[in-house]
């Protein structure tokens, strides 16, 4: 039975949801509005300007941080997807003991607090005399991404018909061919969502990157060190652009998944 919202109850519900949304969005909207403010003040509006955006794109430090962020996210997601997918296929065919053991290791890595992952990897890199920088940050990102890929691919492997692989072998395919032509296409949705998850987690990471690099900075580290020195409208401009990109990415993903559902 469908009841129509009416009266005080319905109004109260909408007002409450509106208030929570206001709390969630007001700070971000203020940040965005003040990225177009002509004065450096955060309390007074002195007219519209794009100066902060122009400054942003002339700042070579910020541009190189953007490059580092994207490079680490793409490379990290690709490597983690390859390692994680191979790992999931291997784990899936293991016995009870091996399966439990390696899934627990993956779980442990997901449950370890970021700060502990960060400092423990920093110890490892310094222990191995690896210089902290782009490479160490990439290694750390691949590491924290792998479990997310594993847990997106494993359910697809479980749904798959276990005999399809054996049938391919019986029909004369080599194990490698059977895997690439039969198994991988079947589990592709899991691989893709694992890769997207890895990419977004990597874009967003601050804590683990902070401990595993020194001079090479990504955007999060840059925002952190700028914010510690005080407010700067250039960060507002940068934040606005990051917020808008996340919004666009989410809307595209949302469209994509609803298109798939319709198909």
């Amino acid at each position: 039975m469908k009841k129509k919202v009416s009266g005080a109850g319905g109004f109260f519900k909408r007002a409450y949801l509106g208030l929570v949304l206001l709390f969630l969005y007001a700070p971000i909207l203020t940040l965005i509005v003040f990225s177009f403010n002509a004065s450096k003040s955060r309390a007074r509006w002195d007219g519209f300007t794009l100066d902060w955006y122009i400054q942003l794109f002339q700042d070579s430090d910020i541009l190189s941080a953007l490059y580092v962020t994207l490079a680490v996210a793409v490379l990290g997601a690709v490597l983690a997807t390859i390692l994680g997918t191979m790992g999931a296929i291997g784990i899936h065919s293991m016995g009870r003991f091996g399966k439990g053991l390696w899934m627990n290791v993956a779980n442990l890595s997901m449950l370890t607090p970021d700060i502990v992952i960060g400092v423990s990897m920093m110890i490892l890199f310094i222990f191995c005399k690896l210089e902290l920088g782009f490479l160490t940050m990439l290694l750390a990102h691949v590491t924290f991404n792998i479990p997310y890929v594993i847990f997106s691919v494993l359910p697809k492997l479980r749904q798959m018909n276990a005999h399809a692989y054996e049938a391919a072998l019986d029909l004369g395919a080599s194990p490698g061919q059977a895997l690439m032509k039969i198994v991988v296409p079947e589990i592709m949705p899991g691989i893709v969502s694992g890769a997207i998850l890895a990419f977004t987690l990597s874009l967003d990471d601050f804590v683990i990157s902070f401990f595993t690099t020194s001079e090479v900075q990504n955007l999060s580290i840059m925002i952190y060190s700028m914010a510690k020195r005080g407010i700067n409208p250039t960060i507002n401009a940068l934040s606005t652009l990051m917020f808008v990109s996340v919004m666009v990415l989410l809307l595209v993903l949302n469209k994509r998944s609803s298109l798939i559902e319709k198909r």
Binding site: I28, M86, I89, V119, V246
Partner: protein
């Protein structure tokens, strides 16, 4: 079955980059600067200075979790009901902040609360209307850090609550109503108990990052305001005492694993409820 060998690169990677670092932390925590075995690092942690910071972190994280639960539960409950207009858009609006960089969310509050920020200047203007000349400071105190935490982690409480409430079988609620329960009874005896798995995973998702954060306290609490995460960061990046830092990292890991264990007893038995 030789398909197991496909896992080899993954296994090698996990051993080197996940297990080895944890073993190194364990070794560092149990040795002194010269490498000899000692329990001094853990003993040093028992100093009231550090214990107080640990207790403050746990207390703040618990308070933040409670506030998030109190704000998010009604919101998720209203959102899960059928009679709300434009539900899809609303749900998306609640999810978007989850995907926003948390530094950005913290920074947004920094700009509002700093001494000539929008909120602070508005509060001071109102106060001066009432003849109060003293300027209030809203940043760099306990309240600012707590506020930043609640703001950051609220969406993590919303989502699991909404998921469990919207999947709830409506006919169970109707059955309770037919059997004569009033609205309060329906909620306390039926809806709330059935939503406990969502409450448990929401609590885990908020408590875990809240108790380990060092960024929110650094940006909104200032250099003097220390949480457990700040202590660890400080030992590794400034003091350079890795042995003591490792001991604290282990304490943090054990604390979290124990609280996860406790929450899992109440939570989702099917597992995978954390994300």
């Amino acid at each position: 079955m030789n398909r197991k060998i496909w896992a080899t690169p993954f296994i090698v990677w996990m051993v080197i980059f996940t297990l080895a670092p944890i073993v190194l932390v364990l070794i560092y925590s149990l040795t002194d600067a010269s490498g000899a075995f000692t329990l001094d690092n853990f003993a040093a942690f028992l100093d009231p200075i550090y214990i107080n910071v640990l207790l403050r972190s746990i207390g703040m994280a618990l308070l933040c979790t409670l506030i998030c639960l109190l704000i998010a539960y009604p919101a998720a409950y209203f959102l899960s009901q059928k009679d709300i207009d434009k539900k899809g858009v609303l749900i998306l609006l609640f999810i978007i902040p989850m995907w926003m960089n948390f530094l950005l969310r913290t920074y947004a509050w920094l700009t509002l609360l700093e001494s000539n920020g929008l909120i602070t200047s508005a509060v001071n203007r109102v106060l001066s209307l009432f003849g109060v000349q003293q300027e209030v400071r809203l940043l760099y105190n306990y309240g600012a850090v707590l506020m930043g935490m609640v703001y950051n982690y609220l969406p993590f409480m919303m989502l699991p609550l909404y998921t469990v409430l919207s999947k709830m079988d409506r006919s169970v609620i109707e059955a309770a109503e037919d059997l004569g329960a009033n609205r309060a009874h329906v909620f306390t005896r039926v809806v709330f108990p059935l939503s406990l798995p969502g409450v448990a995973s929401g609590i885990t998702m908020v408590f875990m990052p809240a108790v380990t954060t060092f960024v929110i306290s650094r940006l909104l609490g200032g250099a003097q305001f220390k949480l457990f995460g700040d202590l660890i960061e400080q030992q590794f990046l400034f003091t350079g005492n890795w042995n003591f830092g490792s001991a604290m990292s282990l304490v943090m890991m054990v604390l979290l694993l124990v609280s996860m264990g406790i929450m899992n007893r109440f939570g989702d038995k099917e597992g995978g409820g954390v994300l």
